[in-house]
Amino acid sequence: MSTPSSLTEFTLADARDAVAAKKISSTELTKAHIAAIEASRSLNAFVTETPDRALEMARASDARIAKGEARPLEGLPLAIKDLFCTKGVRTTAGSNILNNFIPPYESTVSQNLWDVGAVLLGKTNMDEFAMGSSNETSHFGPAINPWRARNSNSNLVPGGSSGGSAAAVSGYLALGATGTDTGGSIRQPAAVAGIVGLKPTYGRCSRWGTVAFASSLDQAGPMARTVRDAAILMRHMASVDPKDSTSVDVPVPDYEATLEGGVKELRVGIPKEYRIDGAPPEIDALWAKGAEWLKAQGAQIVDVSLPHTKYALPAYYIVAPAEASSNLARYDGVRFGLRAKDVRDITDLYEKSRAEGFGAEVKRRILIGTYVLSAGYYDAYYTRAQKVRALILRDFEEAYKHCDVLLTPATPGPAFAVGSQSDDPVAMYLNDVFTVTVNLAGLPGISVPAGLTAEGLPLGLQIIGKAFDEATVLRAGRAIEQAASFTAKPAPWWRAA
């Protein structure tokens, strides 16, 4: 265990060990993070801070530790994406329509974390209803990436949709965070903010109490500064849940225990279709380096083909909006959320409440979804997209006859400037080109920081695994992490004096 100069620089694993050994108290650790959050408001990483609740939970944790009743994450302060319902704590999903929503219940994933002793620091900023790749569609303004290009003062996006969680972890405001990933919303922000993000297999985490976007794609997962920390969080977020019939009843292994198993004889597939025109040469170079790193540790590199890769994003932009248009039908201005004033009748109430409550990107996706599901178009769009989706899954199944995991870039480029991609929806969608296939096929994927661009911005590599084989994904991710020895940190320009 290494002891850092500041309490916020502990890894989650080291903080856990230090708290358990009573070298530091949860209250001290939590206070340090609350102070860091207060000094870092320029990052806009949090929509709601919960310092009072955090301290109350930390004190309860310290009391348990004193009695010798510590649980696995006892007293460790975490940030929770504002898509997870937290009982009694406002949950907005980044939307004006849920601006004042205070859930009377707790999401299963967050409840699982509290049940093992974790501490809630606050709710993190995100793209509205998780629709975005830059955190710029948030009703609460964009979260800002702690990283800046060398010799530049421009604010960069932290990726999205889990941009606030990425900024909070990257900026040392939390030991770890929860995210959700529908098309890349954990892995893409993790990559551009220089942290680790894991999207588990569909069904690994319960979706109950997580505000729904596209139910056949949404999965919760951890965001952390090390692969070990992600492994620890993953184990405690996952569960089979009677309240989510799509959560799968398979045992959750101790991922941390197998983390250092190495990659000797692991067959690592390199899918040729992930080499795309116009990507910066640094992306390809880092990818090749990643393959060399794994090979040097005894892995076997195999060329594979995923022929339908280029159709994944277009298929996603039919399936996800279709599901979103159905899920978001619940926001009616009647039962919860924003209600428009001065309305003529019930239809006017619905139409005005939704027009005032939803932002531009959400409206666009609801309209696309409504169109592709409407009479006469359903087969041409939705059924065809679900067929293409079946072909994408088949591609992976074929590839896995020849390999155990796949290695790919995580994103087509580093973090970009706030405002630079917001005019063209399709250009923004392309940020998820390497991550979205994994959601369509329901597979686990991890993004691990692996290098810096010439301008000093982080880039990630992605490991994709077989369904429910997060253990191997984490093990291979750990091998990348070790070889990359990514120790760069963002300069704390955002800290208030």
């Binding site: 009677p242 799509t246 932009y317 039962r335 939704r354 666009r364 696309i368 059924t383 063209d424």
Partner: protein
Amino acid sequence: MSVDKDTVRRIAKLARIALPEERVEPMEKELNGILAWVAQLEEVDVEGVAPMTSVVAQKLKMRDDVVTDGDQAEAVVANAPMSEDHFFIVPKVVE
């Protein structure tokens, strides 16, 4: 396939989102940009392919048909913008 202004108005109505007239044309352009891009799916040979219905092959779970929760009227209306005696208040819908 592309949408025209009338289709934009019709789907906005179906989606119950008020769309001011000056937003119809920009929305038509935005939606057509997306639809033109997703049209590349037409190249894919999907002959004989069954559409995916579930990413993880598993039988839908059944549970006993019993009450597991209830008596939550207060919590149910707690976030309602307007409610009275545990009822939601809406504009008059029946004359």
